[in-house]
C-alpha cells in the first residue's frame, strides 16, 4: 500500500517538473487561439475589444462581396496555388539529385558537392534577397555579363519586373533547399541492401536499370511521405521569402496567402479581416493534413503524424 502511494507521489512530482513548460506551451501556442474571436468583431486597435462591436460573419462576407476585393483574394489564391503547385510539381528533384549524386564514385568530389549545395539552406531569406540583389540589380553580375556579351543594351530590371515571378520564387526556393532536401534521400539510399545491387549487376543490369528498378522504388516511400507533408502545407508558403522579395511592381503576383494576411493587418490595419482569413486558412490546413494523413494510411498502411 505504502509503495503504491509513493509511486503515485512520484508520478505527480514528475508532472510538476514539466508543468512550467506545459504552461508555456499553453501560453504561446494555445492562448493565441482566442484571437480568432477578433474575426467576429469590429476590432480597431489600439481601442480595446468591446462586446458591442460584435459583427457576426461580416468579415467573412466582406472578403467576397466586393468585386475589387474578390478579385484581390482570388489573385492571392492563384499565387498561393501556383507557388505550392510548382513546389509539388518538382518535388521529385531532390530524389533525382540524391540518386545521381550517389552514382559519383569520387568521394572527395561527392563530399564537396554535398557540403556546398547544402549551405544555402542555412542562410536566411534576407540574405538570399541580398544575394539576389547583388547579382541581379542593374549593376549586378548578371547585367554586367549580359552587356559585355552584347546581349542587351540597357540593364534588365530582374528584381522589379513582375514577369515570371512564380518561377523566380520557385528557383530561389530550389537554390536554397535542393541540396539539403537530398540528404534525406542519400540516407535512404545508403540503407538499400547492397546485395540487391550486386545481384542486379551480376545479372548484367546497366546503371540506369539499377537506378530505375532498385534505387528509385526503394526511395518511393520517403518520397510519398514528403509529398503528403507538402500537400498538408499547401496553403502555408510562409511569408518571409515573399515579404523580402516583394515590391510595388511585383506585389500583385507575389502576394501569397501568408503574406496577404500580414499585409492586410500591418499594411492597411484590417486586423479583423486578416484574422478571419488566417482562421479560414488554419482550418483548411488542418483538414488537408487529416486528408493527407488518411491517404497515407490508405496507401502505406501507416500514418505520418
Amino acid at each position: 500500500m505504502k509503495s503504491i502511494s509513493r509511486r503515485k507521489m512520484q508520478s505527480y512530482r514528475e508532472f510538476l517538473y514539466i508543468l512550467p513548460f506545459i504552461a508555456m506551451v499553453a501560453v504561446f501556442s494555445y492562448y493565441p487561439l482566442y484571437g480568432w474571436f477578433y474575426s467576429f468583431f469590429d476590432f480597431r486597435p489600439p481601442k480595446a475589444l468591446d462586446l458591442s462591436s460584435f459583427v457576426g460573419l461580416k468579415w467573412f462576407v466582406y472578403l467576397v462581396n466586393n468585386p475589387v476585393r474578390q478579385k484581390q483574394v482570388f489573385q492571392v489564391l492563384i499565387n498561393t496555388f501556383a507557388m505550392s503547385g510548382l513546389n509539388i510539381l518538382f518535388s521529385w528533384l531532390p530524389m533525382i539529385f540524391a540518386v545521381f549524386l550517389n552514382e559519383i564514385k569520387c568521394m572527395p568530389f561527392r563530399k564537396i558537392v554535398q557540403t556546398v549545395t547544402t549551405i544555402p539552406n542555412f542562410i536566411s531569406w534576407v540574405l538570399v534577397y541580398s544575394i539576389s540583389y547583388s547579382l541581379f540589380c542593374s549593376t549586378g553580375m548578371a547585367n554586367t555579363l549580359l552587356q559585355q556579351l552584347g546581349l542587351v543594351s540597357a540593364p534588365v530590371q530582374f528584381l522589379q519586373s513582375a514577369s515570371h515571378i512564380w518561377i523566380k520564387m520557385w528557383a530561389w526556393g530550389t537554390w536554397k533547399n535542393l541540396g539539403w532536401a537530398a540528404i534525406m534521400y542519400m540516407a535512404a539510399i545508403s540503407g538499400i541492401d547492397e546485395e540487391l545491387n550486386e545481384a542486379a549487376r551480376v545479372d548484367g543490369a546497366t546503371r540506369m536499370q539499377i537506378i530505375w528498378h532498385i534505387t528509385i522504388p526503394s526511395l518511393l516511400p520517403t518520397f510519398f511521405v514528403l509529398l503528403m507533408l507538402s500537400i498538408a502545407n499547401f496553403l502555408s508558403n510562409g511569408m518571409e521569402q515573399y515579404y523580402v522579395f516583394q515590391n510595388s511592381f511585383n506585389k500583385n503576383t507575389i502576394q501569397v496567402l501568408d503574406l496577404y494576411v500580414y499585409n492586410l493587418a500591418m499594411g492597411s490595419g484590417s486586423y479583423s479581416v486578416s484574422t478571419a482569413l488566417s482562421m479560414l486558412k488554419s482550418l483548411i490546413s488542418i483538414a488537408l493534413l487529416c486528408a493527407a494523413n488518411g491517404l497515407s494510411k490508405l496507401v502505406r498502411g501507416d500514418s505520418f503524424i
Binding site: W36, V113, F122, V126, L127, I131, V261
Partner: protein, 310 residues
C-alpha cells in the same frame, strides 16, 4: 575461375558502356555546375567588398578582386547601430540556444518516463502544436498582452519549448539502455538526479545537433523582429541588413560623414551603397559559412533522426 566470377567480369565490362560513360560525365558536369551556382554568389559578394569601391559600384568585378583593400570592413564597424545589432544577434543566439537545448533535453527525457502522471496526454498536448497555428495577428496580440513586444525575451521565450527537438531528444533517450536509469533508481536517485547525472552526459551528440540547429535558426530569425520590435536598440543583424537593402542610398552619406577626413579618403575607398550592402551581407553570412562545414555531420545527424520518426 568460377562461373560467377566470369559473369561478374563480363557484367563489369558491360558497365563501362558508352551510355554509362556519357551519364557519368554528364553527372559530374551538372553537379559541378550546381555546386558553383551555390557558392559563386558568396564569392562574388566577397571579392566585391575587398575591391575598389568605384569598380564594384560599376559592377565590373566578376571573377577576381582588383585593387584590394579592407577599408569597407573597418568602416562597417563605425556604421551607426550595426554593432548594437550584432550584440543583439549574438545575445539571442547564445541565450536562445542554451535555453532551448536544455529545456528540450529535459522535456524529451521526461516524456520517456512512463511513471509520469498522464504522460501520453501531455506529450500529445505539446506535439499537436506543431500542426496548428493561430496566425500572425493573434500571435502578435498575445505577445503584446504578455509585454513581449519591444522586449528581448520576445526573441527567446516563444521558441523555448520546441516540439520537434523534443521528439529528437525523446527518440535518442529511448535508444539509450534502460538499465542505466533502473540501476540509478535502485540506488535511490530521483528523477532530476537521473537526468543531470545519467542522461545529460550520454546524450551529448544529440545536444550538439539541436544546439547547432537552434543557433542557426536564432541567428537567421527575421520575422519576429519585423512583428514585435519597433525599438531600434533591439534590432537584429538580419533586420538591419534588410533595412540597408531598402535604404542603402541614404546610408553611404551616413558612413562617409562619420569619417571626419572624408575628403582625404581615396575615392576608391569611399563607401557606396553597393559596398555597404555587400560588406554587411558578408558580415552576417560569415558565421554560417564558417560554422556549417565544421558541424555538417551534426546537421546531417539531426535530419536523419528526424526522418526515422517522421
Amino acid at each position: 575461375m568460377s562461373l560467377l566470377a566470369k559473369r561478374k567480369k563480363r557484367a563489369l565490362g558491360r558497365n563501362r558502356s558508352f551510355s554509362d560513360r556519357l551519364i557519368s560525365v554528364l553527372t559530374y558536369v551538372l553537379y559541378a555546375l550546381f555546386a558553383l551556382i551555390c557558392i559563386y554568389p558568396f564569392y562574388y559578394i566577397f571579392i566585391n567588398t575587398i575591391s575598389s569601391n568605384l569598380l564594384s559600384k560599376r559592377g565590373v568585378i566578376l571573377f577576381w578582386p582588383r585593387e584590394i583593400h579592407f577599408q569597407n570592413y573597418l568602416d562597417a564597424i563605425k556604421i551607426n547601430g550595426l554593432m548594437d545589432a550584432a550584440k543583439v544577434s549574438v545575445a539571442r543566439t547564445v541565450i536562445g540556444t542554451l535555453l532551448t537545448v536544455i529545456f528540450s533535453a529535459f522535456l524529451g527525457f521526461m516524456f520517456t518516463r512512463d511513471t509520469m502522471w498522464k504522460r501520453k496526454f501531455w506529450y500529445r498536448f505539446v506535439m499537436i502544436t506543431m500542426y496548428f497555428n493561430a496566425g500572425v495577428i493573434p500571435w502578435y496580440l498575445t505577445m503584446r498582452n504578455l509585454g513581449l513586444t519591444n522586449n528581448f525575451w520576445g526573441y527567446v521565450l516563444p521558441t523555448m519549448v520546441a516540439p520537434f527537438y523534443i521528439i529528437l531528444m525523446k527518440t535518442y533517450v529511448e535508444s539509450t539502455p534502460k538499465e542505466l536509469q533502473q540501476a540509478a533508481e535502485i540506488d535511490g536517485a530521483g528523477t532530476l538526479r537521473i537526468f543531470f547525472r545519467i542522461i545529460l552526459p550520454i546524450i551529448k551528440p544529440i545536444l550538439a545537433t539541436i544546439a547547432i540547429f537552434t543557433a542557426v535558426t536564432q541567428w537567421n530569425s527575421f520575422q519576429d523582429t519585423l512583428l514585435l520590435v519597433t525599438d531600434n536598440k533591439l534590432y537584429t543583424l538580419q533586420f538591419t541588413l534588410y533595412q540597408y537593402l531598402n535604404q542603402a542610398s541614404s546610408l553611404k552619406s551616413l558612413v562617409n560623414a562619420t569619417n571626419s577626413s572624408a575628403a582625404s579618403v581615396a575615392l576608391a575607398h569611399a563607401q557606396t551603397a553597393t559596398s555597404i550592402r555587400m560588406t554587411v551581407t558578408i558580415i552576417v553570412v560569415f558565421p554560417i559559412l564558417t560554422i556549417y562545414p565544421i558541424f555538417q555531420r551534426f546537421f546531417v545527424k539531426g535530419i536523419m533522426i528526424g526522418a526515422v520518426k517522421g
